[in-house]
Symmetry: C2
Amino acid sequence: MGEDGPTIVTIAERAGVSIASVSRVLNGQSARPETTERVLAAADALGYVPNAVARSLKSRRTNHIAFAMADIGNPVYLAMVREIQQVLRAAGYRLVLHSTDADVDDELEVLRGLGQRYVDGLILCPLRVTSGHLAELTRAPVPVVVIGSVPDGQPVDSVRADSRTGVSLAVRHLYEQGRRRIGFVNGPVDTVPGAARDAGFRAALAEVGLAYEESRVEIGDFYVEGGARAADRLLARADVDALLCANDLMAVGALRTLREHGRDVPADVAVVGMDDTDLATTTWPPLTSVGLGSAERGRRAAELLIDRITGATARAGSPRQILVRPRLAVRGSSR
Amino acid sequence: MGEDGPTIVTIAERAGVSIASVSRVLNGQSARPETTERVLAAADALGYVPNAVARSLKSRRTNHIAFAMADIGNPVYLAMVREIQQVLRAAGYRLVLHSTDADVDDELEVLRGLGQRYVDGLILCPLRVTSGHLAELTRAPVPVVVIGSVPDGQPVDSVRADSRTGVSLAVRHLYEQGRRRIGFVNGPVDTVPGAARDAGFRAALAEVGLAYEESRVEIGDFYVEGGARAADRLLARADVDALLCANDLMAVGALRTLREHGRDVPADVAVVGMDDTDLATTTWPPLTSVGLGSAERGRRAAELLIDRITGATARAGSPRQILVRPRLAVRGSSR
DNA sequence: CGGCAATCTGAAAACGTTTACACAACGACG
DNA sequence: CGTCGTTGTGTAAACGTTTTCAGATTGCCG
């Protein structure tokens, strides 16, 4: 029971060499063949596994990277996690997951925790960016990549979705389908995505020459139920022939509400979601959706971060901003 | 730039005390008021944050726990992750995520990696349990909790779903709805869930007095597309009035196939899924599904693990097995 | 005011690695 | 045969904590 796992010292004793030699052999540095052999034999016999913590203490690298987002239940974050995890694994990093329940304090807590040095870097996908965030970001002791918008001039890498163009794609598509009374179920406008989509919607309407009607806009909460209720409120007071939803979850809710109201999709009302998650292909009719490249954003963020940690660009180098292009996937709900 | 973060030494110098005193004060041990005050003042002024790695090396606890599963894209694992993350956070642990893509070697790799001591414990949710797993499990240097079945007598805590009763619930329900020609879209039977469901299906049919018909059983891959194709093959050769699917993803695929075949759900064919994930409420018609308590399994596993790590039961104590009860959620797809 | 117990403190040793440095051994070369 | 690189090795010092132990300080009582 009390076997406390072999250490480099155990091996050294058994092989009759110094711990330095053991370390060197195990790290593939040159040594006399005989030494190499004896060390490897001893290590093998003892079933030695190097202690990651001790190694980290010395090397100042943990090979862990954190990802913090609001809620892993949201398919968007999920797509990011999957992709991030892939990239990290390929690069020999492990993923530490923080689900903050959209609590700003929790997010800040994670940022401050960086000082503990339990990770080599952080990918942060905040719902809102407060001044608190910015303050912590500038003093972060390890590289951080933000998925989302940060004000210009902040010394931090970021990967953004182009919500604005995304919304524009959707509105144009609906317009081309002959829809003129386009309703909009957005999320809270005090969140980064909500604000971006709101601005995008206004701009897109202007592009195609439609007027912005207060009564055709309703606010949900980015979740299914909230979307369903928002759609319900909207239908009660406005006559729309299309419904653009700020994410797929709310679009799913809207589809349900429309069905309950006996409105046919897409004949009576076309529905378009955003994020183009897996959900879009499981609904009926399948949901037209604007993909904002969640997976790609995750991947790019991870790559950016790894490059910062161990790359040519390392710690120096000016902050980089990546903009991921949206892509419209037209399905049954709008044609 | 080169500021290398204050350590306990920096504080000691500034406060004019020894590092031992600093450590004690910061850990809330008794000290003379003046010492306490000076240390705290210095720590505060320097913005000191303790180094988690160094602390871990000394204390032999990392406060990290790993969760390894096949694919976080699967809603079942997702539900587990959410719950696990909750429990861990409340207990002051961080979650390290391993998505193994159902690759047995990757799983074993994770198990072996435990020797590196970068986590205090592991929750493992394997698709299959090989002898390799068992070997590694018995020699694991930190506590491991398995979500899924492990052979009796293995010295490892486990939390299982009661697939068998779950399948039985579904079959009885369909029988009560007057269905007599029940088809079954299972996953591969060489996986733990696949095997359990297969056994459950045979037993359940016997319970209600129906015959097991080879032709009404088809194998998918636990994913949407595979489920769709499996349903397609099944419909081509058998006349069924109900379709039980071994998970919700395949049920979603089956719903699509049925629609393509012009079969009404539930009038022509009733459909029942398993796992009762969020998906079940987004389909049309909403999917009847047998919940196998993914969330609960995650929670119980996390609790069990934490208890092993720091609990009354600690390292000693015989292995515990928890069986989570299934629960049928009847929705539109079967009534 | 001396002695004793109780309290607080600092020096030093751990935790398990990596690595700078110095030294030994070695063949090669003049 | 002495000197010189070259190569391999061992000692010891880090990395940033916690913790043991012994010594210093304090307060209290006789």
